[in-house]
Symmetry: C2
Subunit: 308 residues, 2 copies
Amino acid sequence: MNPNDFAIAIHGGAGTIAPETMTTQKYDAYMAGLKEAIDAGFGLLQQGASSLDAVEAAVRMLEDCPLFNAGKGAVFNHAGQHEMDAAIMYGKDKTAGAVCGIGNARNPVQVARAVMERTEHVLLSGAGANAFAIAQNLPIENPAYFFNQYRYEQWQEAVFEGKVQLDHSEKKMGTVGAVAKDKFGNLAAATSTGGMTNKQFGRVGDSPLIGVGTWADDNTCAISCTGHGELFMRSVVAYDIACLIEYKGLSLQAACDLVVMDKLVKIGGEGGLVAIDKLGNIELPFNSSGMYRGYKKSDGGEKMAIYK
Amino acid sequence: MNPNDFAIAIHGGAGTIAPETMTTQKYDAYMAGLKEAIDAGFGLLQQGASSLDAVEAAVRMLEDCPLFNAGKGAVFNHAGQHEMDAAIMYGKDKTAGAVCGIGNARNPVQVARAVMERTEHVLLSGAGANAFAIAQNLPIENPAYFFNQYRYEQWQEAVFEGKVQLDHSEKKMGTVGAVAKDKFGNLAAATSTGGMTNKQFGRVGDSPLIGVGTWADDNTCAISCTGHGELFMRSVVAYDIACLIEYKGLSLQAACDLVVMDKLVKIGGEGGLVAIDKLGNIELPFNSSGMYRGYKKSDGGEKMAIYK
C-alpha cells in the first residue's frame, strides 16, 4: 500500500440473522446500512479528513440505522430502558474517550469523542455520562426515539423467558464499529453498542473499554471488536493483538488469527473484530456464523458480507 | 523460591502524605494499617487458603481503614457522594469481577468477587452495582458510615477551588490493592478505590478495569495499580507488563521497570503498582514520591515502606 493510501473497515455486529430467516429484503437493507456507513467514512478520508473523523462518521451512521444494536437500534435492558456504551481512540497520540450506561444521547460515539477532547477523563458512566452529554449540548433524544417494536418484542420475550440475551442470533444482536487509516498514516477506532437485551445490574461489556473492545496506536493497529463481551474482557482482546504485533513481531493477520480463531475459540469467546494496521492491511476475522462487515480502500479494494 | 512458597504484596496508594507533613503518629498509623492488611492475607495463605481469598482479605482490611481512599475512607465526589470502584481476578482460570460507581457496599472488593462468582458478567456499574450488592445480601452501609471529617473538608476545599483532585498528594490520595501467590502456585490480584475527590460525571478510573488496574494470570503475573487512572488506561498498564513477560521474555522486574519507570514517565503517568510472578518474585515500582506498600513472604522476607 502507498503510504498516502487510506481505507476504512466497519462491522455491524457478530450476531447475525440466521441464514434461513434472512430474506432478500432484509439482506438488502443490511447491505444498504453497511454501505452508507462505509461511504460516510470513506468520503471523509477522500476529502483529507482524519481517521478519527472517519470512524466517528461511520459509527454515527450505524447508530442512526435501526437495524443495528447501537444508538437508535439499541436493545432494551431489564428495566425497559436503553443503556448504551461507546468508545473512540486516535492512534496518532493514543488519546481515548468512552461512555458506559448512557441513555439519552442520539450518538454515544459523539459523546465518547467529547469525553476524549473536552475532559481529562477517559471513561464516564451512567447518570454522569447523561449529564455530561447534556452539559456539552450534544444531541439528546427522549425514550420514544429509541423505541422500536421489534426490539420491544425481543425484550418482552426475554423477560418472559427470564433470559439475558447474549448477542449471537437474530434476537440477540451485537455492536457496531469502525477502524480507519487516513492519508496522513494515522489510525483510529470506534465502537458503539446497546449491549444485551434484558441485561441487568448496569452490566458493562467490552465495547467502551480501551484495549479490550477498542484500540488504536499508529505503531501497531486499530481494532474494534464485537462478541461475547465478558470473554473478550478477560482476554484484553484488542491490546493482545497489538502486543503480538509489537512484542512478538507477528503480522496483523497472524495476530488476528491467533486471538480470534484460536485463543477466543478455546474459551468459547464467540465474536469477531475489524482491524487495520499502519501498512493499511485490513483483517475482518470472526469465529461466529457471521459478522456484518465491509471495507473500502483508496486502491479500489471493496467488500461487504454477512456470512462466511 | 520453593514452588510451595507463598507471598503477598499490597499497596495503599501512590499518593502519599508529603514527607514534611508526616508526623510520627501518622506514620505509625499508616504502618499499622498496612501491617494489618498484610497479616490478614498472609495468615490465610499460611493456613492454605487460595491467593484469591488472601487478596480479598487484605483489600477488605484496607477498605475498612479510614486512612486509605477505598471503602470507609473513600473520598467525596462532586455531588458529595461516594462512588467506589473495585476489581478482583484469579490467575488460575483468569476469571474476574468488578464494580464501578458503587455507593452502598462496605467492601466493594467483596461485591466484585460476587460479580465474578455469582454472575456471567465481569463489570457492573452504578445503580445496577448497588442493586446487585443488596440482592446478594452483602454488607451495606448508609452514607454516615463513609462520612469522615477530613475527607469532607478535603471535598469542600476542592469544590471551593473548583478542582478535581487527582490522587497525588496528602489531600488527593489513591487506591488500595493486593497481589498474592498461594501454596498451590495460583496468583490473584485485587484493587479498590474511592476515586478522585470532587470527581464529576461518573468518572471511572483504571482500578476496576481488567488488564489495566488489575490483572492475574498464573502463566505470567498478578498486578494491582495505583496512579493517574486515565494515563494508565491509555497504556493498558497491567496487561502490558504481562505481554512483555509472555511475548518478549522479559523478567517481571524488567517489564515493571520499562512500563512504570520509562513508558509511564514519558507520558506523565504518575503512580506505581505491586506485582508478583509465578516464581514468587515481587516488584513494587513507583515513579511518584512515595507509595504506601509492603510485602511478606513465606521464606521470611518482609518489608513495609512509604517513601523511596
